[in-house]
């Protein structure tokens, strides 16, 4: 195993342990836990044996496995970005509800 593989492996295991810890403390929903587990365990397995990626990338017709990893990472990042935007939007609207409530309450006094 190359040094960089070991480095990544340790890093990924560390991240995943945080995921597990969060879940056991109930700060993560079962749904999220399964989704994140799939991601991090997948990443751990790939760091141990990088050629595993070809099992997914070859049927899809992607030339180099590493290209597939990068494409997937980009898609994942875009998705997470969008979810963050939605969450912020919901937060903004909740904030407005509070500000509105204050405005009307002040008037009712």
């Amino acid at each position: 195993m190359q040094a960089i593989q070991l480095f990544f492996l340790l890093f990924l295991v560390l991240i995943y342990s945080v995921v597990i810890a969060r879940f056991t403390k109930r700060r993560l929903s079962p749904r999220s836990f399964i989704a994140w587990s799939a991601l991090w365990i997948g990443a751990i397995l790939v760091s141990i044996n990088p050629s595993l990626v070809s099992y997914v990338s070859d049927p899809l017709g992607v030339g180099r496995a590493i290209d597939f990893v990068i494409y997937s990472a980009i898609v994942l990042l875009l998705y997470l970005n969008f979810k963050t935007y939605l969450r912020q939007d919901a937060l903004n609207r909740d904030l407005t509800k509070v500000v509105r409530s204050l405005a009307i309450r002040e008037k009712k006094k």
């Binding site: 903004n92 407005t96 500000v99 509105r100 405005a103 009307i104």
Partner: protein, 224 residues
């Protein structure tokens, strides 16, 4: 029936007194001004001119302020609501034309249109953006209008109760159209005059903000 005039205002200390005073002089004395977190004297000026003033402690956007005003008006039992701009672009003489179709029960909501009416000093860029915006609203909600971004509207109590505005910022204009469609409300465009001045143009939306606005409108259309 006495209409309640609802005005959303953000840093309009320069124009709000004149707008409220003019309205009162024409006999409209039920005026709600929602101060959307201004850091100037907008609240004091509006109150001195005789309006009921509600104040957002922080700026949330015109859509948010309008909804606050509408909610409060409905709370107070208002049966007829008119939304009106704070910057002097709208003409108080045209309120009558806006509310008559509702009082005659011809329609549930009237929408002011500067393209059916008049828009003095309208810069080409703004004209283009408005036209594109209106067309965009048509694409998203299927309702063809001549002016979807006009803040001059009149609503019956029934429509005001049914229309849910969840957008904080300028995308609320499109959302209102969407709500009209969702609730199958009758609507009618009424010609109005929009008077642009250097002051009001300076306060308007920048053309560059249009793209972000467009994206927010798309998202709002599918996620509420």
């Amino acid at each position: 029936m006495r209409p309640t005039i609802i005005i959303a205002a953000f840093n309009e200390t320069y124009s709000i007194k004149k707008v409220v005073t003019t309205l009162r002089r024409k006999g409209y004395d039920d005026i709600i001004v929602v101060d959307d977190g201004s850091f100037d004297n907008t609240s004091e000026q509006a109150e001195k001119a005789g309006a009921i003033v509600l104040r957002h402690i922080i700026n949330r956007g015109q859509g948010a302020a309008l909804k606050t005003g509408i909610d409060y008006a409905l709370l107070k039992g208002s049966a007829l609501l008119v939304t009106f701009d704070a910057d002097g672009q709208h003409n108080a003489n045209e309120i009558d034309a806006m509310i008559t179709p509702i009082l005659n029960e011809e329609t549930d909501i009237t929408l002011g249109s500067r393209f059916l009416g008049r828009a003095t000093n309208l810069p080409f860029l703004k004209w283009s953006v408005l036209k594109i915006g209106t067309f965009f609203v048509y694409l998203l909600y299927g309702i063809k209008l001549t002016d979807s971004q006009n803040g001059f509207r009149a609503l019956s109590r029934k429509s005001a109760l049914q229309i849910q505005i969840t957008s904080d910022r300028m995308e609320h204009a499109g959302e209102i159209i969407g709500e009209i469609r969702r609730n199958k409300l009758r609507y009618k465009e009424v010609p109005v005059t929009i008077s642009y001045t250097k002051y009001s143009l300076g306060k308007g939306q920048k053309a560059s903000a249009a793209i972000a606005l467009g994206i927010r409108m798309i998202i709002r259309r599918f996620i509420r």
